[in-house]
Subunit: 369 residues, 4 copies
């Protein structure tokens, strides 16, 4: 099966390896007439870029995105938008050693079994750099969502045992802390934890939370393409994510119905609201009008420099110390990836909803189109 | 978007409402030549049937599955297998009241917003009875998986705060406890908890774990159709599931890399193994040869008879007491649904893998086909 | 690959064999709120039914369609519409002989090679009865198309060398002639030709033309999902169709550009028109506002009673005389199948077009949905 | 709907406009382990390149293909193969005039209605240059097909009223004649005809035939994904194609069953053959083991320099003389496009067939994979 194409009404096709010539994405089916330039996308790209900070990989890439098609006179044309980011800082030499063995926690072994061999340079297709295309395409979706009043914001909820206060999210804090936490205090502690990990040659995981505000109710297709099912697919397809929760998530399984049910009510303008939001904005696979709340649990970076045992292709058990440029934590850089995958998924489902009623179609074609 | 079709190489299309004439599924693309009769399927259907036990809904249905197409001389023919289960025990009268208001924790409001109205009888399409088709199709997939040595077993891991001992799974225990727990002691406690819930007009959630043994490595398509992403999509599309974990799941996010990485090694026959299985059998979106481990967190049944506040279609806030036949817990009956969705997903991806290498194709067509 | 599922925004999944218990279709993704009852569908079913006339197969079936799901209070609910037609007149005995050999012009050999065996009763899945589901689903699409002013009309253009005058199409004539020709004179001649074929144990082919009036311009997705490509896929998937033409079709290949180009102009109300319609209403894969014109070329029925040579499964070359109930021509009954496949395809693409512009989305979600 | 993604097991996603920075394609799902370099692809690209000959457009492009991903150590890796061709010879100035009016026979009007505006430079996305990606991807598929003994050969059958003798196809003749005819005599006449068209400011159409040898029987999925339906979709999606025929095609509609049926028989080695091939190698939507024969009817190039009437965006009827670099015939360059679309489609369906029988799966996973 083709595994690098995603979406229904709109699709993304990503391509490229960590140490190939370039990486990119084709966004197809995106509607025409939206103003778009490279700067709109670059601001998102910069959020996933390896920073100069202590906590992320020292590899430096400009990761400059270039639009190759689909834009004319500054606007989307409705045809495929092809985006490319050239690889400029590959140092393949760093990786030659790992060609011969299977790194613990990595996809190396699976690739060899499935395909007979693998592009071992920097993880090849399973590198975190694969997410470049996801972010580039998601940035474009975010711009359209903004037009209809939908805001998708992800942030770091925890790193290791350091938990951020998420009772009040200020987007500018998220964008300015080193760890993408919405809490400057916790951020400092998390940076300390990460630095300790680096010193020990270890790594650490964390939790990313994504909140979607302004969602109309009724989005998501009952049964297999439920909003939560599609979001889970999208977010679990990000490397290193090991669990996805919606709303109260795992806590819901230990709750009583009388606790977990959210009462419907009205706000001052007699708009429908829910008094609580245990559901995380999704009931029966459709948005219920409350904020969508999703959490992705990210495992610690598998590339660590402390000694590990594994096997090589010759059939020996060996000890390895993985060298190279590695983040002791991927969470801060994965925040924008989660945000962008959610944005893409939601736009795709918003489009689906445009033909849920017969009158939507008859109104559309009854008017002068 | 068409929301009731699922899968790539093989597809299932489910249809039917809780109180319509019937429910069913069409399984398309299933390979030819497998012996199949209704009894093969019925044994799985019986596991999701409302039992006579104290813990599940008193509604009695035979839920007899009938094969309408795709079988000839006792074997699958490669053409669509259409399966139908007639609804025999509808009592629509029970549900007329809920037509006018939106039940807390249910999809009622979303349906009305999305479609303009809804089949309110027993939840219509969002009823748990929708899963009949999933189980029927999954049963067929299970039969083929068994032929290639893959066993998919799900069981109840916990209900409310009652946790089963899952250190040793005996399938016959799972099939014989009331709660589908693999632990007779815990089962008793869980039944007590459930009975207490029923008395109080309340409900409770739980956790279902699914273990897949015998998986070859390399199954799953890198990037968007990762094995974990596809399983999450499949399992999160089951109503009431609010979180999905793979392997250590949420615990991975608080772990260090040195703890979470699994070392590759060899067994006595020099087959590749992992010394631990924090990954839950999936690395980089592909199976790594260890057991696949997945957990689905199920919320408490939203239909409870104790008093709740909500709104009606006339725009009033009201108090309601939901009547009718309702399970105080859906977990035991959902176990087989999780199992069947996993079985379907895995078979679909096993098929995809058959063309991952060029030599697989040249060998196939080089031989006399 | 799943071969019995078709469509993108809306999908049809057909199932059933000629001599199984029943045949049916699931129409998924169809919008909610359209009044629908069985009579709406039955009128189309009756057009493909084996008639009592001299020209079609003497097999008598009521072919009564039953709606199993997706309708509530007389309207579509947005959930899958499951339709079933029971087989009531199977006489499997007629077919036992053909189990052992490969009928010329039939799919028997392909089925055996592909699947290892086949349901030989009446052609099994490759029987013309497979189209029952297509017509049932297409009838529903036709009802919605009518609401937005789109009329899809197919008719027999020729049978053998008897060509109908198609300069003026009166739908009531099409519905009342034995051959579905829009020309009573030609119809008589065609019936005579068909009767002669029957007497000789032979069969004959013909041409079906489909005209779609009221199409807005811009429908169809550039590149792979062009309107003409999708229609060709849909119509060529009907058994016995061996060629599809759009507009001038094969004549266009021998024409000069100066002849084949259609000049754009305006009508009295200053609406855009084309002065001619060589294009058949499609330019660059999108509708151009003129009538869509498509022709399907149908081969003669392969089942003929005159002596033919073929091979059997034991590896002998043999002479056969195929018995049983066979139409000497399938064209008249295939007319409604072509019409319904076109209707389905067009509705699917009309829905796609609803998100071709960004403003369509912002207008939709800007208004109170 | 996403209109630039095509295929099921393997997919192609094409992108790019005639006068943008580049055009390209992503081929996803292609199996690993096939040796591939740019020269393998370039040889196909050169066949669709604007030549220096009198009959094709004077625009000169090197159309050099570059592989950006999916290849490692000279072999396909199973990950997406991204191919790019830079536009080097754009002269947008030539096209500014056509921004304001709708060229007869072109997609201009449809694009404006559908998307609100269009990239008018050289036809933008509807340019023939869009086929660059199709050819690049098809070239890769051809290489794999060759390995399993399948040869796909297309050639020009006729241009205007000049018909080639196709009784004996010598591939080297096809590759060396100016018109891609397999008949040097007819080629000369066709060139003369084309030159006359050019002098008159006119254009001409033609017929492309594609023959596929070495096809195993049973390829193609019954019902909607029939081999002929998929091929028709693929070929009709090429701009300018107005009809597709399989085997006897349109002639079948005027034939009798006794003429049109092909008798099955055996060759000297007791392999199954057909004595004739009216079916064009496809019965019931599956290959029957004979050569696949398909014809695409191509309309004359709509861009002609002689005077035409049309309308402009201001609402006036005007006279136009289209300037610029235009082929008076596109047929010779479209031959390789037809060939490549057929190759892609066939490989996709060959893969599907690998799971048509249960034993294929059990054998595959029973062996050491």
């Amino acid at each position: 099966m083709s595994g690098s194409v995603f979406g229904n009404n709109i699709t993304i096709t990503t391509w490229g390896e960590s140490h190939g010539k370039a990486l990119g994405v084709v966004l197809d089916g995106f509607p025409a007439g939206m103003p778009l330039n490279e700067a709109d996308i670059q601001v998102f790209m910069d959020r996933r870029k390896p920073g100069s900070s202590v906590v992320t990989t020292p590899r430096k890439e400009d990761d400059e995105v270039e639009i190759l098609s689909g834009i004319f006179e500054g606007k989307t044309t409705g045809t495929p938008i092809s985006l490319i980011v050239k690889n400029t800082s590959q140092r393949s030499g760093d990786y030659s050693e790992i060609a011969e063995y299977y790194r613990p926690g990595h996809a190396d072994y699976g690739f060899d079994v499935k395909y007979g061999f693998r592009d071992y340079r920097g993880g090849g297709r399973s590198s975190g750099r694969e997410t470049i295309g996801r972010v580039a395409a998601g940035a474009i979706c975010q711009k359209l969502l903004k037009e209809i009043g939908i805001d998708v914001t992800a942030y770091t909820k925890s790193i290791g045992d350091v938990e951020a206060d998420t009772s009040n999210i200020d987007k500018s804090v998220v964008l300015n802390t080193i760890t993408a936490m919405p809490d400057a205090e916790a951020d400092k502690k998390a940076v300390e934890l990460i630095n300790n990990c680096r010193k020990k040659g270890d790594s650490v995981g964390g939790v990313i939370e994504c909140v979607i505000k302004g969602m109309p109710a009724g989005i998501g297709e009952p049964v297999f393409n439920k909003l939560d099912a599609m979001l889970s697919h999208a977010v679990m397809s990000i490397g290193a994510v090991k669990a996805v929760e919606i709303g109260d998530g795992i806590k819901a399984s230990a709750a009583y119905g009388s606790q977990n049910n959210d009462s419907f009510s009205f706000d001052q303008n007699h708009n429908v609201i829910k008094k609580t939001n245990h559901s995380g904005g999704i009931l029966g696979g459709m948005s219920d009008g409350s904020d969508i709340i999703l959490r992705a649990h990210v495992k610690p970076t598998p590339s660590i420099s402390s000694t590990q045992t594994t096997i090589n292709r010759s059939g020996d058990e060996i000890e390895v110390n993985i060298k190279g440029r590695h983040d002791p934590v991927v969470v801060p850089r994965a925040v924008v990836v989660v945000e962008c995958m959610c944005a893409f998924t939601i736009l795709d489902l918003l489009i689906s909803n445009m033909h849920s009623k017969m009158t939507y179609i008859t109104d559309f074609y009854g008017n002068d189109i």
